[in-house]
């Protein structure tokens, strides 16, 4: 008789639940009868904001979500995925987690919060689109005073840029957009945005943004439950996370690309790249936000320093080394 772990995902359906299932499938394929994960959809046992508490207490054995969901306990949560961009992508932030001291800082934070969890990070999400607008954004000045819907630290950043952040329940984004209660909104990626029906309320979709540019999933386990497992099962949970990291990237980029094409070609959405002036305004806003929080929270500052050191080093190499992919793309596809 194998062990059964109850894992709740923060997703009720759509591509992210597929991603959670994909992780679980990998565990099952490797562990055979020795370990089974019962994957429960969003809100099955507890609501999303209570997921980390539930894993900590053992109400759930595990959860599949993003670190932004425990932002209520520490601002540093946002640095695991939805923080400032130091010239890197989520791939490199995950590199920092594994080889730049990120995991150790995470464990230190969990210990200081007294949280009884073990986490693995995987699935480098492409940068989240700036989102859906009423008209094309050609310059940063157009962002001023726009009523925008977003969450987490991204809200602070956009407030610094002079936007008005309107907090809305998720289900009300669309009606609010259609009716003008908000001027713009962001969600996550072309597939989820399309499933959510944003194309019904806006025809102007801007890709590329620094507000949430390097998020990834966190698979978190109750520490006692995890440590009670034999070493080989512990390893399977960890290595399945690494395997799913690659699978996510291959699987999701293809789906996002296909859905972007459907949005553009079949559903009449105008797709743009966000102008550079907006993105550099975002970087300036990030500086203010990061400085302010670093001043209030020493641990936050410590994590920022660690991230900067890693990014400066690794991105220097990558930037020098990577050929101009856009050049080659343009060469073949115009």
């Amino acid at each position: 008789e194998g062990t059964v772990l109850k894992m709740q995902a923060a997703w009720g359906g759509g591509i992210f639940l597929e991603n959670a299932q994909s992780y679980v499938d990998r565990v099952h394929a490797m562990a055979g009868d020795a370990l089974k994960i019962d994957l429960l959809p969003v809100n099955s046992v507890v609501k999303t904001s209570q997921m980390q508490d539930a894993v900590h207490r053992g109400v759930l054995d595990a959860a599949h979500y993003v670190p932004a969901y425990w932002y209520s306990k520490s601002k540093t949560a946002s640095l695991f995925g939805t923080g400032p961009c130091f010239g890197w992508s989520s791939q490199e932030v995950l590199g920092w987690v594994n080889y730049g001291g990120g995991q150790e800082l995470f464990d230190e934070l969990m210990a200081s919060l007294g949280l009884n969890v073990v986490s693995f990070f995987n699935s480098p999400m492409p940068a989240q689109p700036l989102g859906w607008f009423k008209e094309e954004i050609k310059d940063a000045s157009q962002m001023d005073g726009l009523k925008y819907r977003t969450v987490g630290l991204a809200a602070d950043v956009l407030l610094e840029m002079g936007m008005s952040v309107v907090q809305l329940p998720g289900g009300e984004i669309q009606p609010a957009m259609k009716s003008g209660l908000i001027d713009a909104a962001e969600f996550n990626n072309p597939t989820s945005d399309r499933d959510f029906g944003m194309q019904d309320v806006s025809k102007h979709y801007h890709l590329a943004s620094f507000h949430q540019s390097q998020e990834f999933f966190e698979v978190t386990f109750n520490k006692d439950k995890y440590e009670a497992l034999p070493a080989e099962l512990q390893a399977i949970l960890k290595y399945a996370s690494e395997a799913e990291n690659s699978n996510f990237y291959w699987h999701n980029t293809k789906r996002y690309a296909d859905d972007l094409k459907t949005l553009r070609d079949e559903q009449g959405v105008n797709v743009y790249r966000t102008p550079d002036s907006v993105m550099s305004a975002q970087l300036d806003a990030w500086d203010i936000v990061v400085d302010r929080i670093s001043g209030e929270d020493a641990f936050f500052a410590k994590v920022i320093d660690s991230q900067k050191a890693y990014a400066e080093n690794v991105m220097d190499y990558l930037n020098l080394n990577q050929p101009d992919y856009k050049l080659a793309y343009a060469h073949y596809f115009g």
Binding site: Y71, S74, K75, G114, K147, S164, V165, Q167, L168
Partner: protein
């Protein structure tokens, strides 16, 4: 015993009514938010969380009040066929079996969760204003305690009804609306 019952219920009534005023704050603050958003194009960053906390505090702390006024819905298809003595016996048993375990948990474990929340000075998870929620979470053990007290009063009511075959009167509250309507809403032909 009767005095004690009414003392507890007086407390439930007072707390429930006091938190009832949250609805007025809720109405005004939300209307204010709509006003500043449209007229001044400057939404607040606090109205959303304020709204949620006012609502949460209201329903939670009015729980004992509703219990003291027997306002929680019952599925009384069979229940109302019982004699008062039997109603009281069933209620007495179910208060012990069904009610107290949950309320003790709300008090005891709610306290533990609230003190965790105080330790990391927990804030609202999606608020740019980072509105504190540790006070808000502390309401759970408070409600648990008040509900246990009110449960005790209900047990005493049941005990009395078992002995006498008559339910004690509930405390006077807002005049029943349907009674008023019978008089006020004479068709105006």
């Amino acid at each position: 015993m009767e005095k004690l019952v009414y003392a507890i219920e007086g407390l439930s009534l007072w707390v429930g009514r006091a938190f009832g005023w949250c609805i007025l704050i809720l109405t005004l603050s939300v209307s204010y938010e709509v006003f500043v958003r449209y007229v001044l194009n400057a939404p607040t960053v606090w109205a959303f969380d304020m709204m949620v906390q006012m609502y949460g505090a209201l329903f939670l702390m009015a729980g004992p009040y509703a219990l003291a006024q027997d306002a929680h819905v019952r599925g009384d298809v069979l229940y109302r066929l019982f004699s008062i003595r039997w109603q009281a016996r069933v209620d007495f048993l179910l208060y012990l079996l069904f009610f107290f375990p949950g309320m003790i948990a709300l008090f005891w474990y709610g306290w533990e969760i609230a003190s965790d929340s105080w330790r990391y000075k927990e804030v609202s998870w999606n608020s740019p204003a980072r509105i504190q929620i540790y006070f808000f979470k502390t309401l759970i053990p408070a409600a648990g305690l008040l509900l246990m007290l009110q449960g005790l009063a209900e047990l005493m009511r049941c005990w009395k009804a078992m002995k006498t075959g008559v339910w004690m009167e509930r405390l006077d509250d807002v005049k029943e609306t349907e009674d008023m309507l019978m008089h006020i809403n004479e068709p105006k032909f």
